[in-house]
């Protein structure tokens, strides 16, 4: 069993009068599969990035490395996340539906990793 330590930090000096300076961390037990940090060039066609049948509960990291093109992420066939240029996400995935990725245009590169609980 391995330990994964994810941390989120949110900062803003001018979003509100009160400075935002926020941090949260966790310690996760990883006992299953790992898809180590990987990159894939997408097209406008759907790519099944992570197949639900292959994993149980997992933690997923996604980052759009492109500087202008949006990447759409579907859970099954439902568009759920649009990652704009440079944006990232980290979330628990219940593996109930495939994670499918496609570009809004062109061939942006998606960086991703998976850690199975």
């Amino acid at each position: 069993m391995a330990t994964l330590t994810p941390t989120l930090i949110l900062n803003s000096a001018d979003a509100t009068t009160d400075v935002l300076n926020f941090s949260v961390t966790d310690s996760l037990n990883i006992t299953g599969d790992v898809v180590s940090l990987n990159r894939v060039a997408l097209s406008t066609g759907d790519l099944t990035l992570l197949a639900a049948a292959s994993y149980t509960k997992s933690y997923v990291y996604l980052k759009n490395t492109d500087n202008s093109i949006v990447i759409n992420i579907d859970f099954g066939s439902t568009l759920s996340i649009a990652l704009a240029a440079g944006e990232l996400a980290f979330f628990p995935w219940e593996s109930s539906q495939n994670i499918v990725a496609a570009s809004a245009s062109g061939t942006p590169v998606l960086e991703y990793a998976l850690f199975e609980a």
Binding site: A2, P6, V24, V34, G86, F91, P92
Partner: protein, 143 residues
């Protein structure tokens, strides 16, 4: 225009033998396109009761297909407590005790609410913490 920066780091010293994991990625919150500044911010804590139905953490009240972000954390310390997180009818995942998520929420249509539901121990309560950064929000109509 406000500048808000999100940084996610993911570290492990024992995930892959001989290869410590150290992901460190940042991005600035932008409106649709690349304009900086999400000034609508809603932060707080709440309590969910197991056995109640799913609740909308945030309704999709605003312009569809805009840039919005969700931070959500399950503050429970009981390993049996988890929170189901979904966008309308799509289950995203289960947030276990102490776990958090950071993800965009694009309000693809007016029923694309973020919903949460406590699960795990009948009758128990789960405290959650959240922050929502929005580009667009329409206030509910007066009743």
């Amino acid at each position: 225009m406000a500048t808000t920066t999100a940084t996610v780091s993911i570290n492990s010293s024992d995930l892959i033998p001989g290869q410590p994991l150290s992901i460190n990625a940042s991005h600035t919150l932008t409106k649709s396109g690349l304009t900086e500044g999400l000034e609508i911010i809603d932060m707080g804590r709440g309590v969910l009761t197991e056995a109640s139905a799913a609740d909308a953490l945030a309704e999709a009240l605003g312009t569809a297909d805009t840039s919005n972000w969700i931070y959500l954390c399950n503050k429970s310390t009981n390993d049996l407590h988890y929170i189901k997180v979904g966008i309308h009818d799509t289950l995203i995942g289960h947030l276990g005790a102490g776990e958090w998520l950071w993800m965009p929420w694009n309000m693809g249509d007016n029923v694309a609410e973020i919903n949460i539901e406590a699960e795990g121990v009948t009758g128990s309560s789960i405290t959650y913490e959240y922050a929502i950064f929005q580009e667009s929000k329409t206030l509910p109509a007066k009743t």
